[in-house]
């Protein structure tokens, strides 16, 4: 009997342990098998071990997220900065292109409204000469090769800009209406009173030869009279900002603000023929 048990001790003990296991498993809900005690012992033993693992894990996690992970961040940051700058430049360029397209559209619309033979040109530079900088001209990117000649009118959708005074094969110079050498025949739109608009060398113009009796008020709009043969009739020149009694008692002293933004023009129209097409 004992020799049988000894010979088959593994299988007999396995059988017994299987029965015990099944008994525990089936009665697990009732807590049979000293489960609570064993669980308590195991958890007491494993708690410091688990704490140790958690500490190690948090240290590793900290080292990883604060140092190792950040190694690539610097490179990524540099790349993102470069991308941002590139995109900002591109965005700026596209915005400029958009503004240019809008301006050209406006110029084209104005050209169609004018209905006369004209040529769009780009302002490539401004010049102020003289001790006080009162001589005012602008350079355009169109010249004799494009059919530009001296005394052609230069206008913008907002109003009169000036006239061509010098032409090379590829560029031309515009005498702005604010230059003291500039004078244009003009009419007060509201009363049809005629006068002469002259440049003052500053940002304003002066309307001359308006009699004391004439009805002219601040806010009145001045348009070209079309008498000189340079500017077509009816183009806006400026708006009257100040009206005073003149020193000579014959004529009024009248200040006019040009309607065209003469300091910030980028594209203009050069009128080649006054006759409407």
């Amino acid at each position: 009997m004992f020799s049988f048990i000894r010979r088959h001790q593994i299988i007999l003990s396995a059988f017994l342990l299987c029965l015990v296991s099944l008994h525990i498993a089936v009665n697990a809900e009732r807590g049979i098998g000293g489960e609570v005690i064993v669980r308590g012992v195991v958890s007491t033993v494993s708690r410091p071990i688990q704490k140790g693992f958690l500490t190690l894990y948090s240290v590793f996690d900290r080292v990883w997220s604060n140092y190792i992970y950040l190694v690539g961040i610097r490179e990524e940051n540099r790349f993102l900065h470069e991308t941002l700058h590139r995109l900002m430049e591109e965005n700026n360029r596209l915005r400029e292109e958009l503004l240019l397209a809008e301006r050209l559209k406006e110029i084209l619309r104005y050209r169609n409204v004018l209905g006369i033979d004209s040529l769009a040109a780009e302002v490539t530079g401004y010049s102020s000469f003289g001790a006080a900088g009162w001589m005012r001209t602008a350079t355009l990117d169109k010249g004799s090769r494009d059919g530009i000649r001296v005394d052609m009118a230069v206008v913008s959708p907002r109003g009169v800009v000036g006239r061509i005074i010098e032409v090379t094969s590829t560029t031309s110079t515009v005498l702005l209406i604010t230059d003291p050498r500039s004078s244009i025949d003009a009419i007060v739109q509201r009363t049809r009173t005629k006068g002469l608009v002259e440049g003052t060398g500053s940002r304003t113009l002066r309307l001359k030869y308006i009699r004391q009796l004439d009805d002219v008020r601040p806010g009145d709009v001045l348009v070209t009279a079309g008498l000189s043969g340079i500017f077509p009739k009816g183009l806006e020149v400026g708006r009257i900002t100040r009206v005073e009694k003149g020193e000579d008692n014959f004529f009024k002293y009248i200040e006019v603000e040009p309607t065209a933004p003469l300091d910030s023009l980028e594209e203009v129209l050069i009128i080649k023929e006054l006759t409407r097409g």
């Binding site: 001790q9 593994i10 299988i11 003990s13 396995a14 342990l17 299987c18 015990v20 296991s21 099944l22 008994h23 525990i24 498993a25 089936v26 697990a28 098998g33 489960e35 064993v38 669980r39 195991v42 958890s43 033993v45 494993s46 071990i49 688990q50 693992f53 958690l54 894990y57």
Partner: protein, 161 residues
């Protein structure tokens, strides 16, 4: 007793690691590895009891019905004891395949016990992946177990343990 001294603390530390750090990762099943190592090396009465205790601890850590893994591991150990008399698990490939089958068998027996206790759980992909990982990494674990066993044996002989 040597096996208890060595493998119970190893299992507790490993299972603590598993439930704390890698609860959702398919890492090797340490209890199956130990049982396989012991059964294929030198079947003994101590081994059967160790399989039971390992299963019990495994159940406590994994939160399943206590008794299911101990039942399964005792069966696995007993079967392996008989099989190892006929088959030598010296070849790494044969050992790997046997390890995979053992791991799957253990899980299936656990599922069977759970089924009879009223918990119907089907075998998922996770069981398959764990069995595969266990089989794949078994050579490394067996090497470590062998070294540790030799160390414990040496210290027991010196009377240090």
């Amino acid at each position: 007793m040597r096996e208890f001294i060595l493998f119970i603390p190893v299992a507790i530390v490993y299972l603590s690691f598993r439930v704390t750090i890698t609860p959702n990762l398919p890492i090797p099943d340490i209890s199956v590895l130990i049982v396989f190592f012991l059964a294929s090396r030198r079947p003994s009465l101590e081994g059967v009891f160790l399989a039971f205790v390992l299963g019990y601890i495994d159940d406590i850590f994994s939160g399943t019905i206590v008794g299911s893994s101990s039942f399964s591991l005792v069966i696995v150990y007993t079967v392996l004891c008989f099989v190892s008399r006929k088959v030598a698990f010296t070849d790494p490939l044969i050992r790997g395949v046997a390890m995979f089958i053992t791991c799957m068998a253990k899980e299936l027996v656990v599922l069977l016990v759970l089924y009879f206790t009223g918990i119907a759980v089907g075998p998922g992909l996770y069981i398959f992946v764990v069995a595969f990982v266990t089989a794949l990494l078994s050579p490394l674990f067996f090497l470590l177990f062998r070294k540790a066993s030799e160390l414990v044996l040496l210290r027991t002989e010196r009377g240090e343990l």
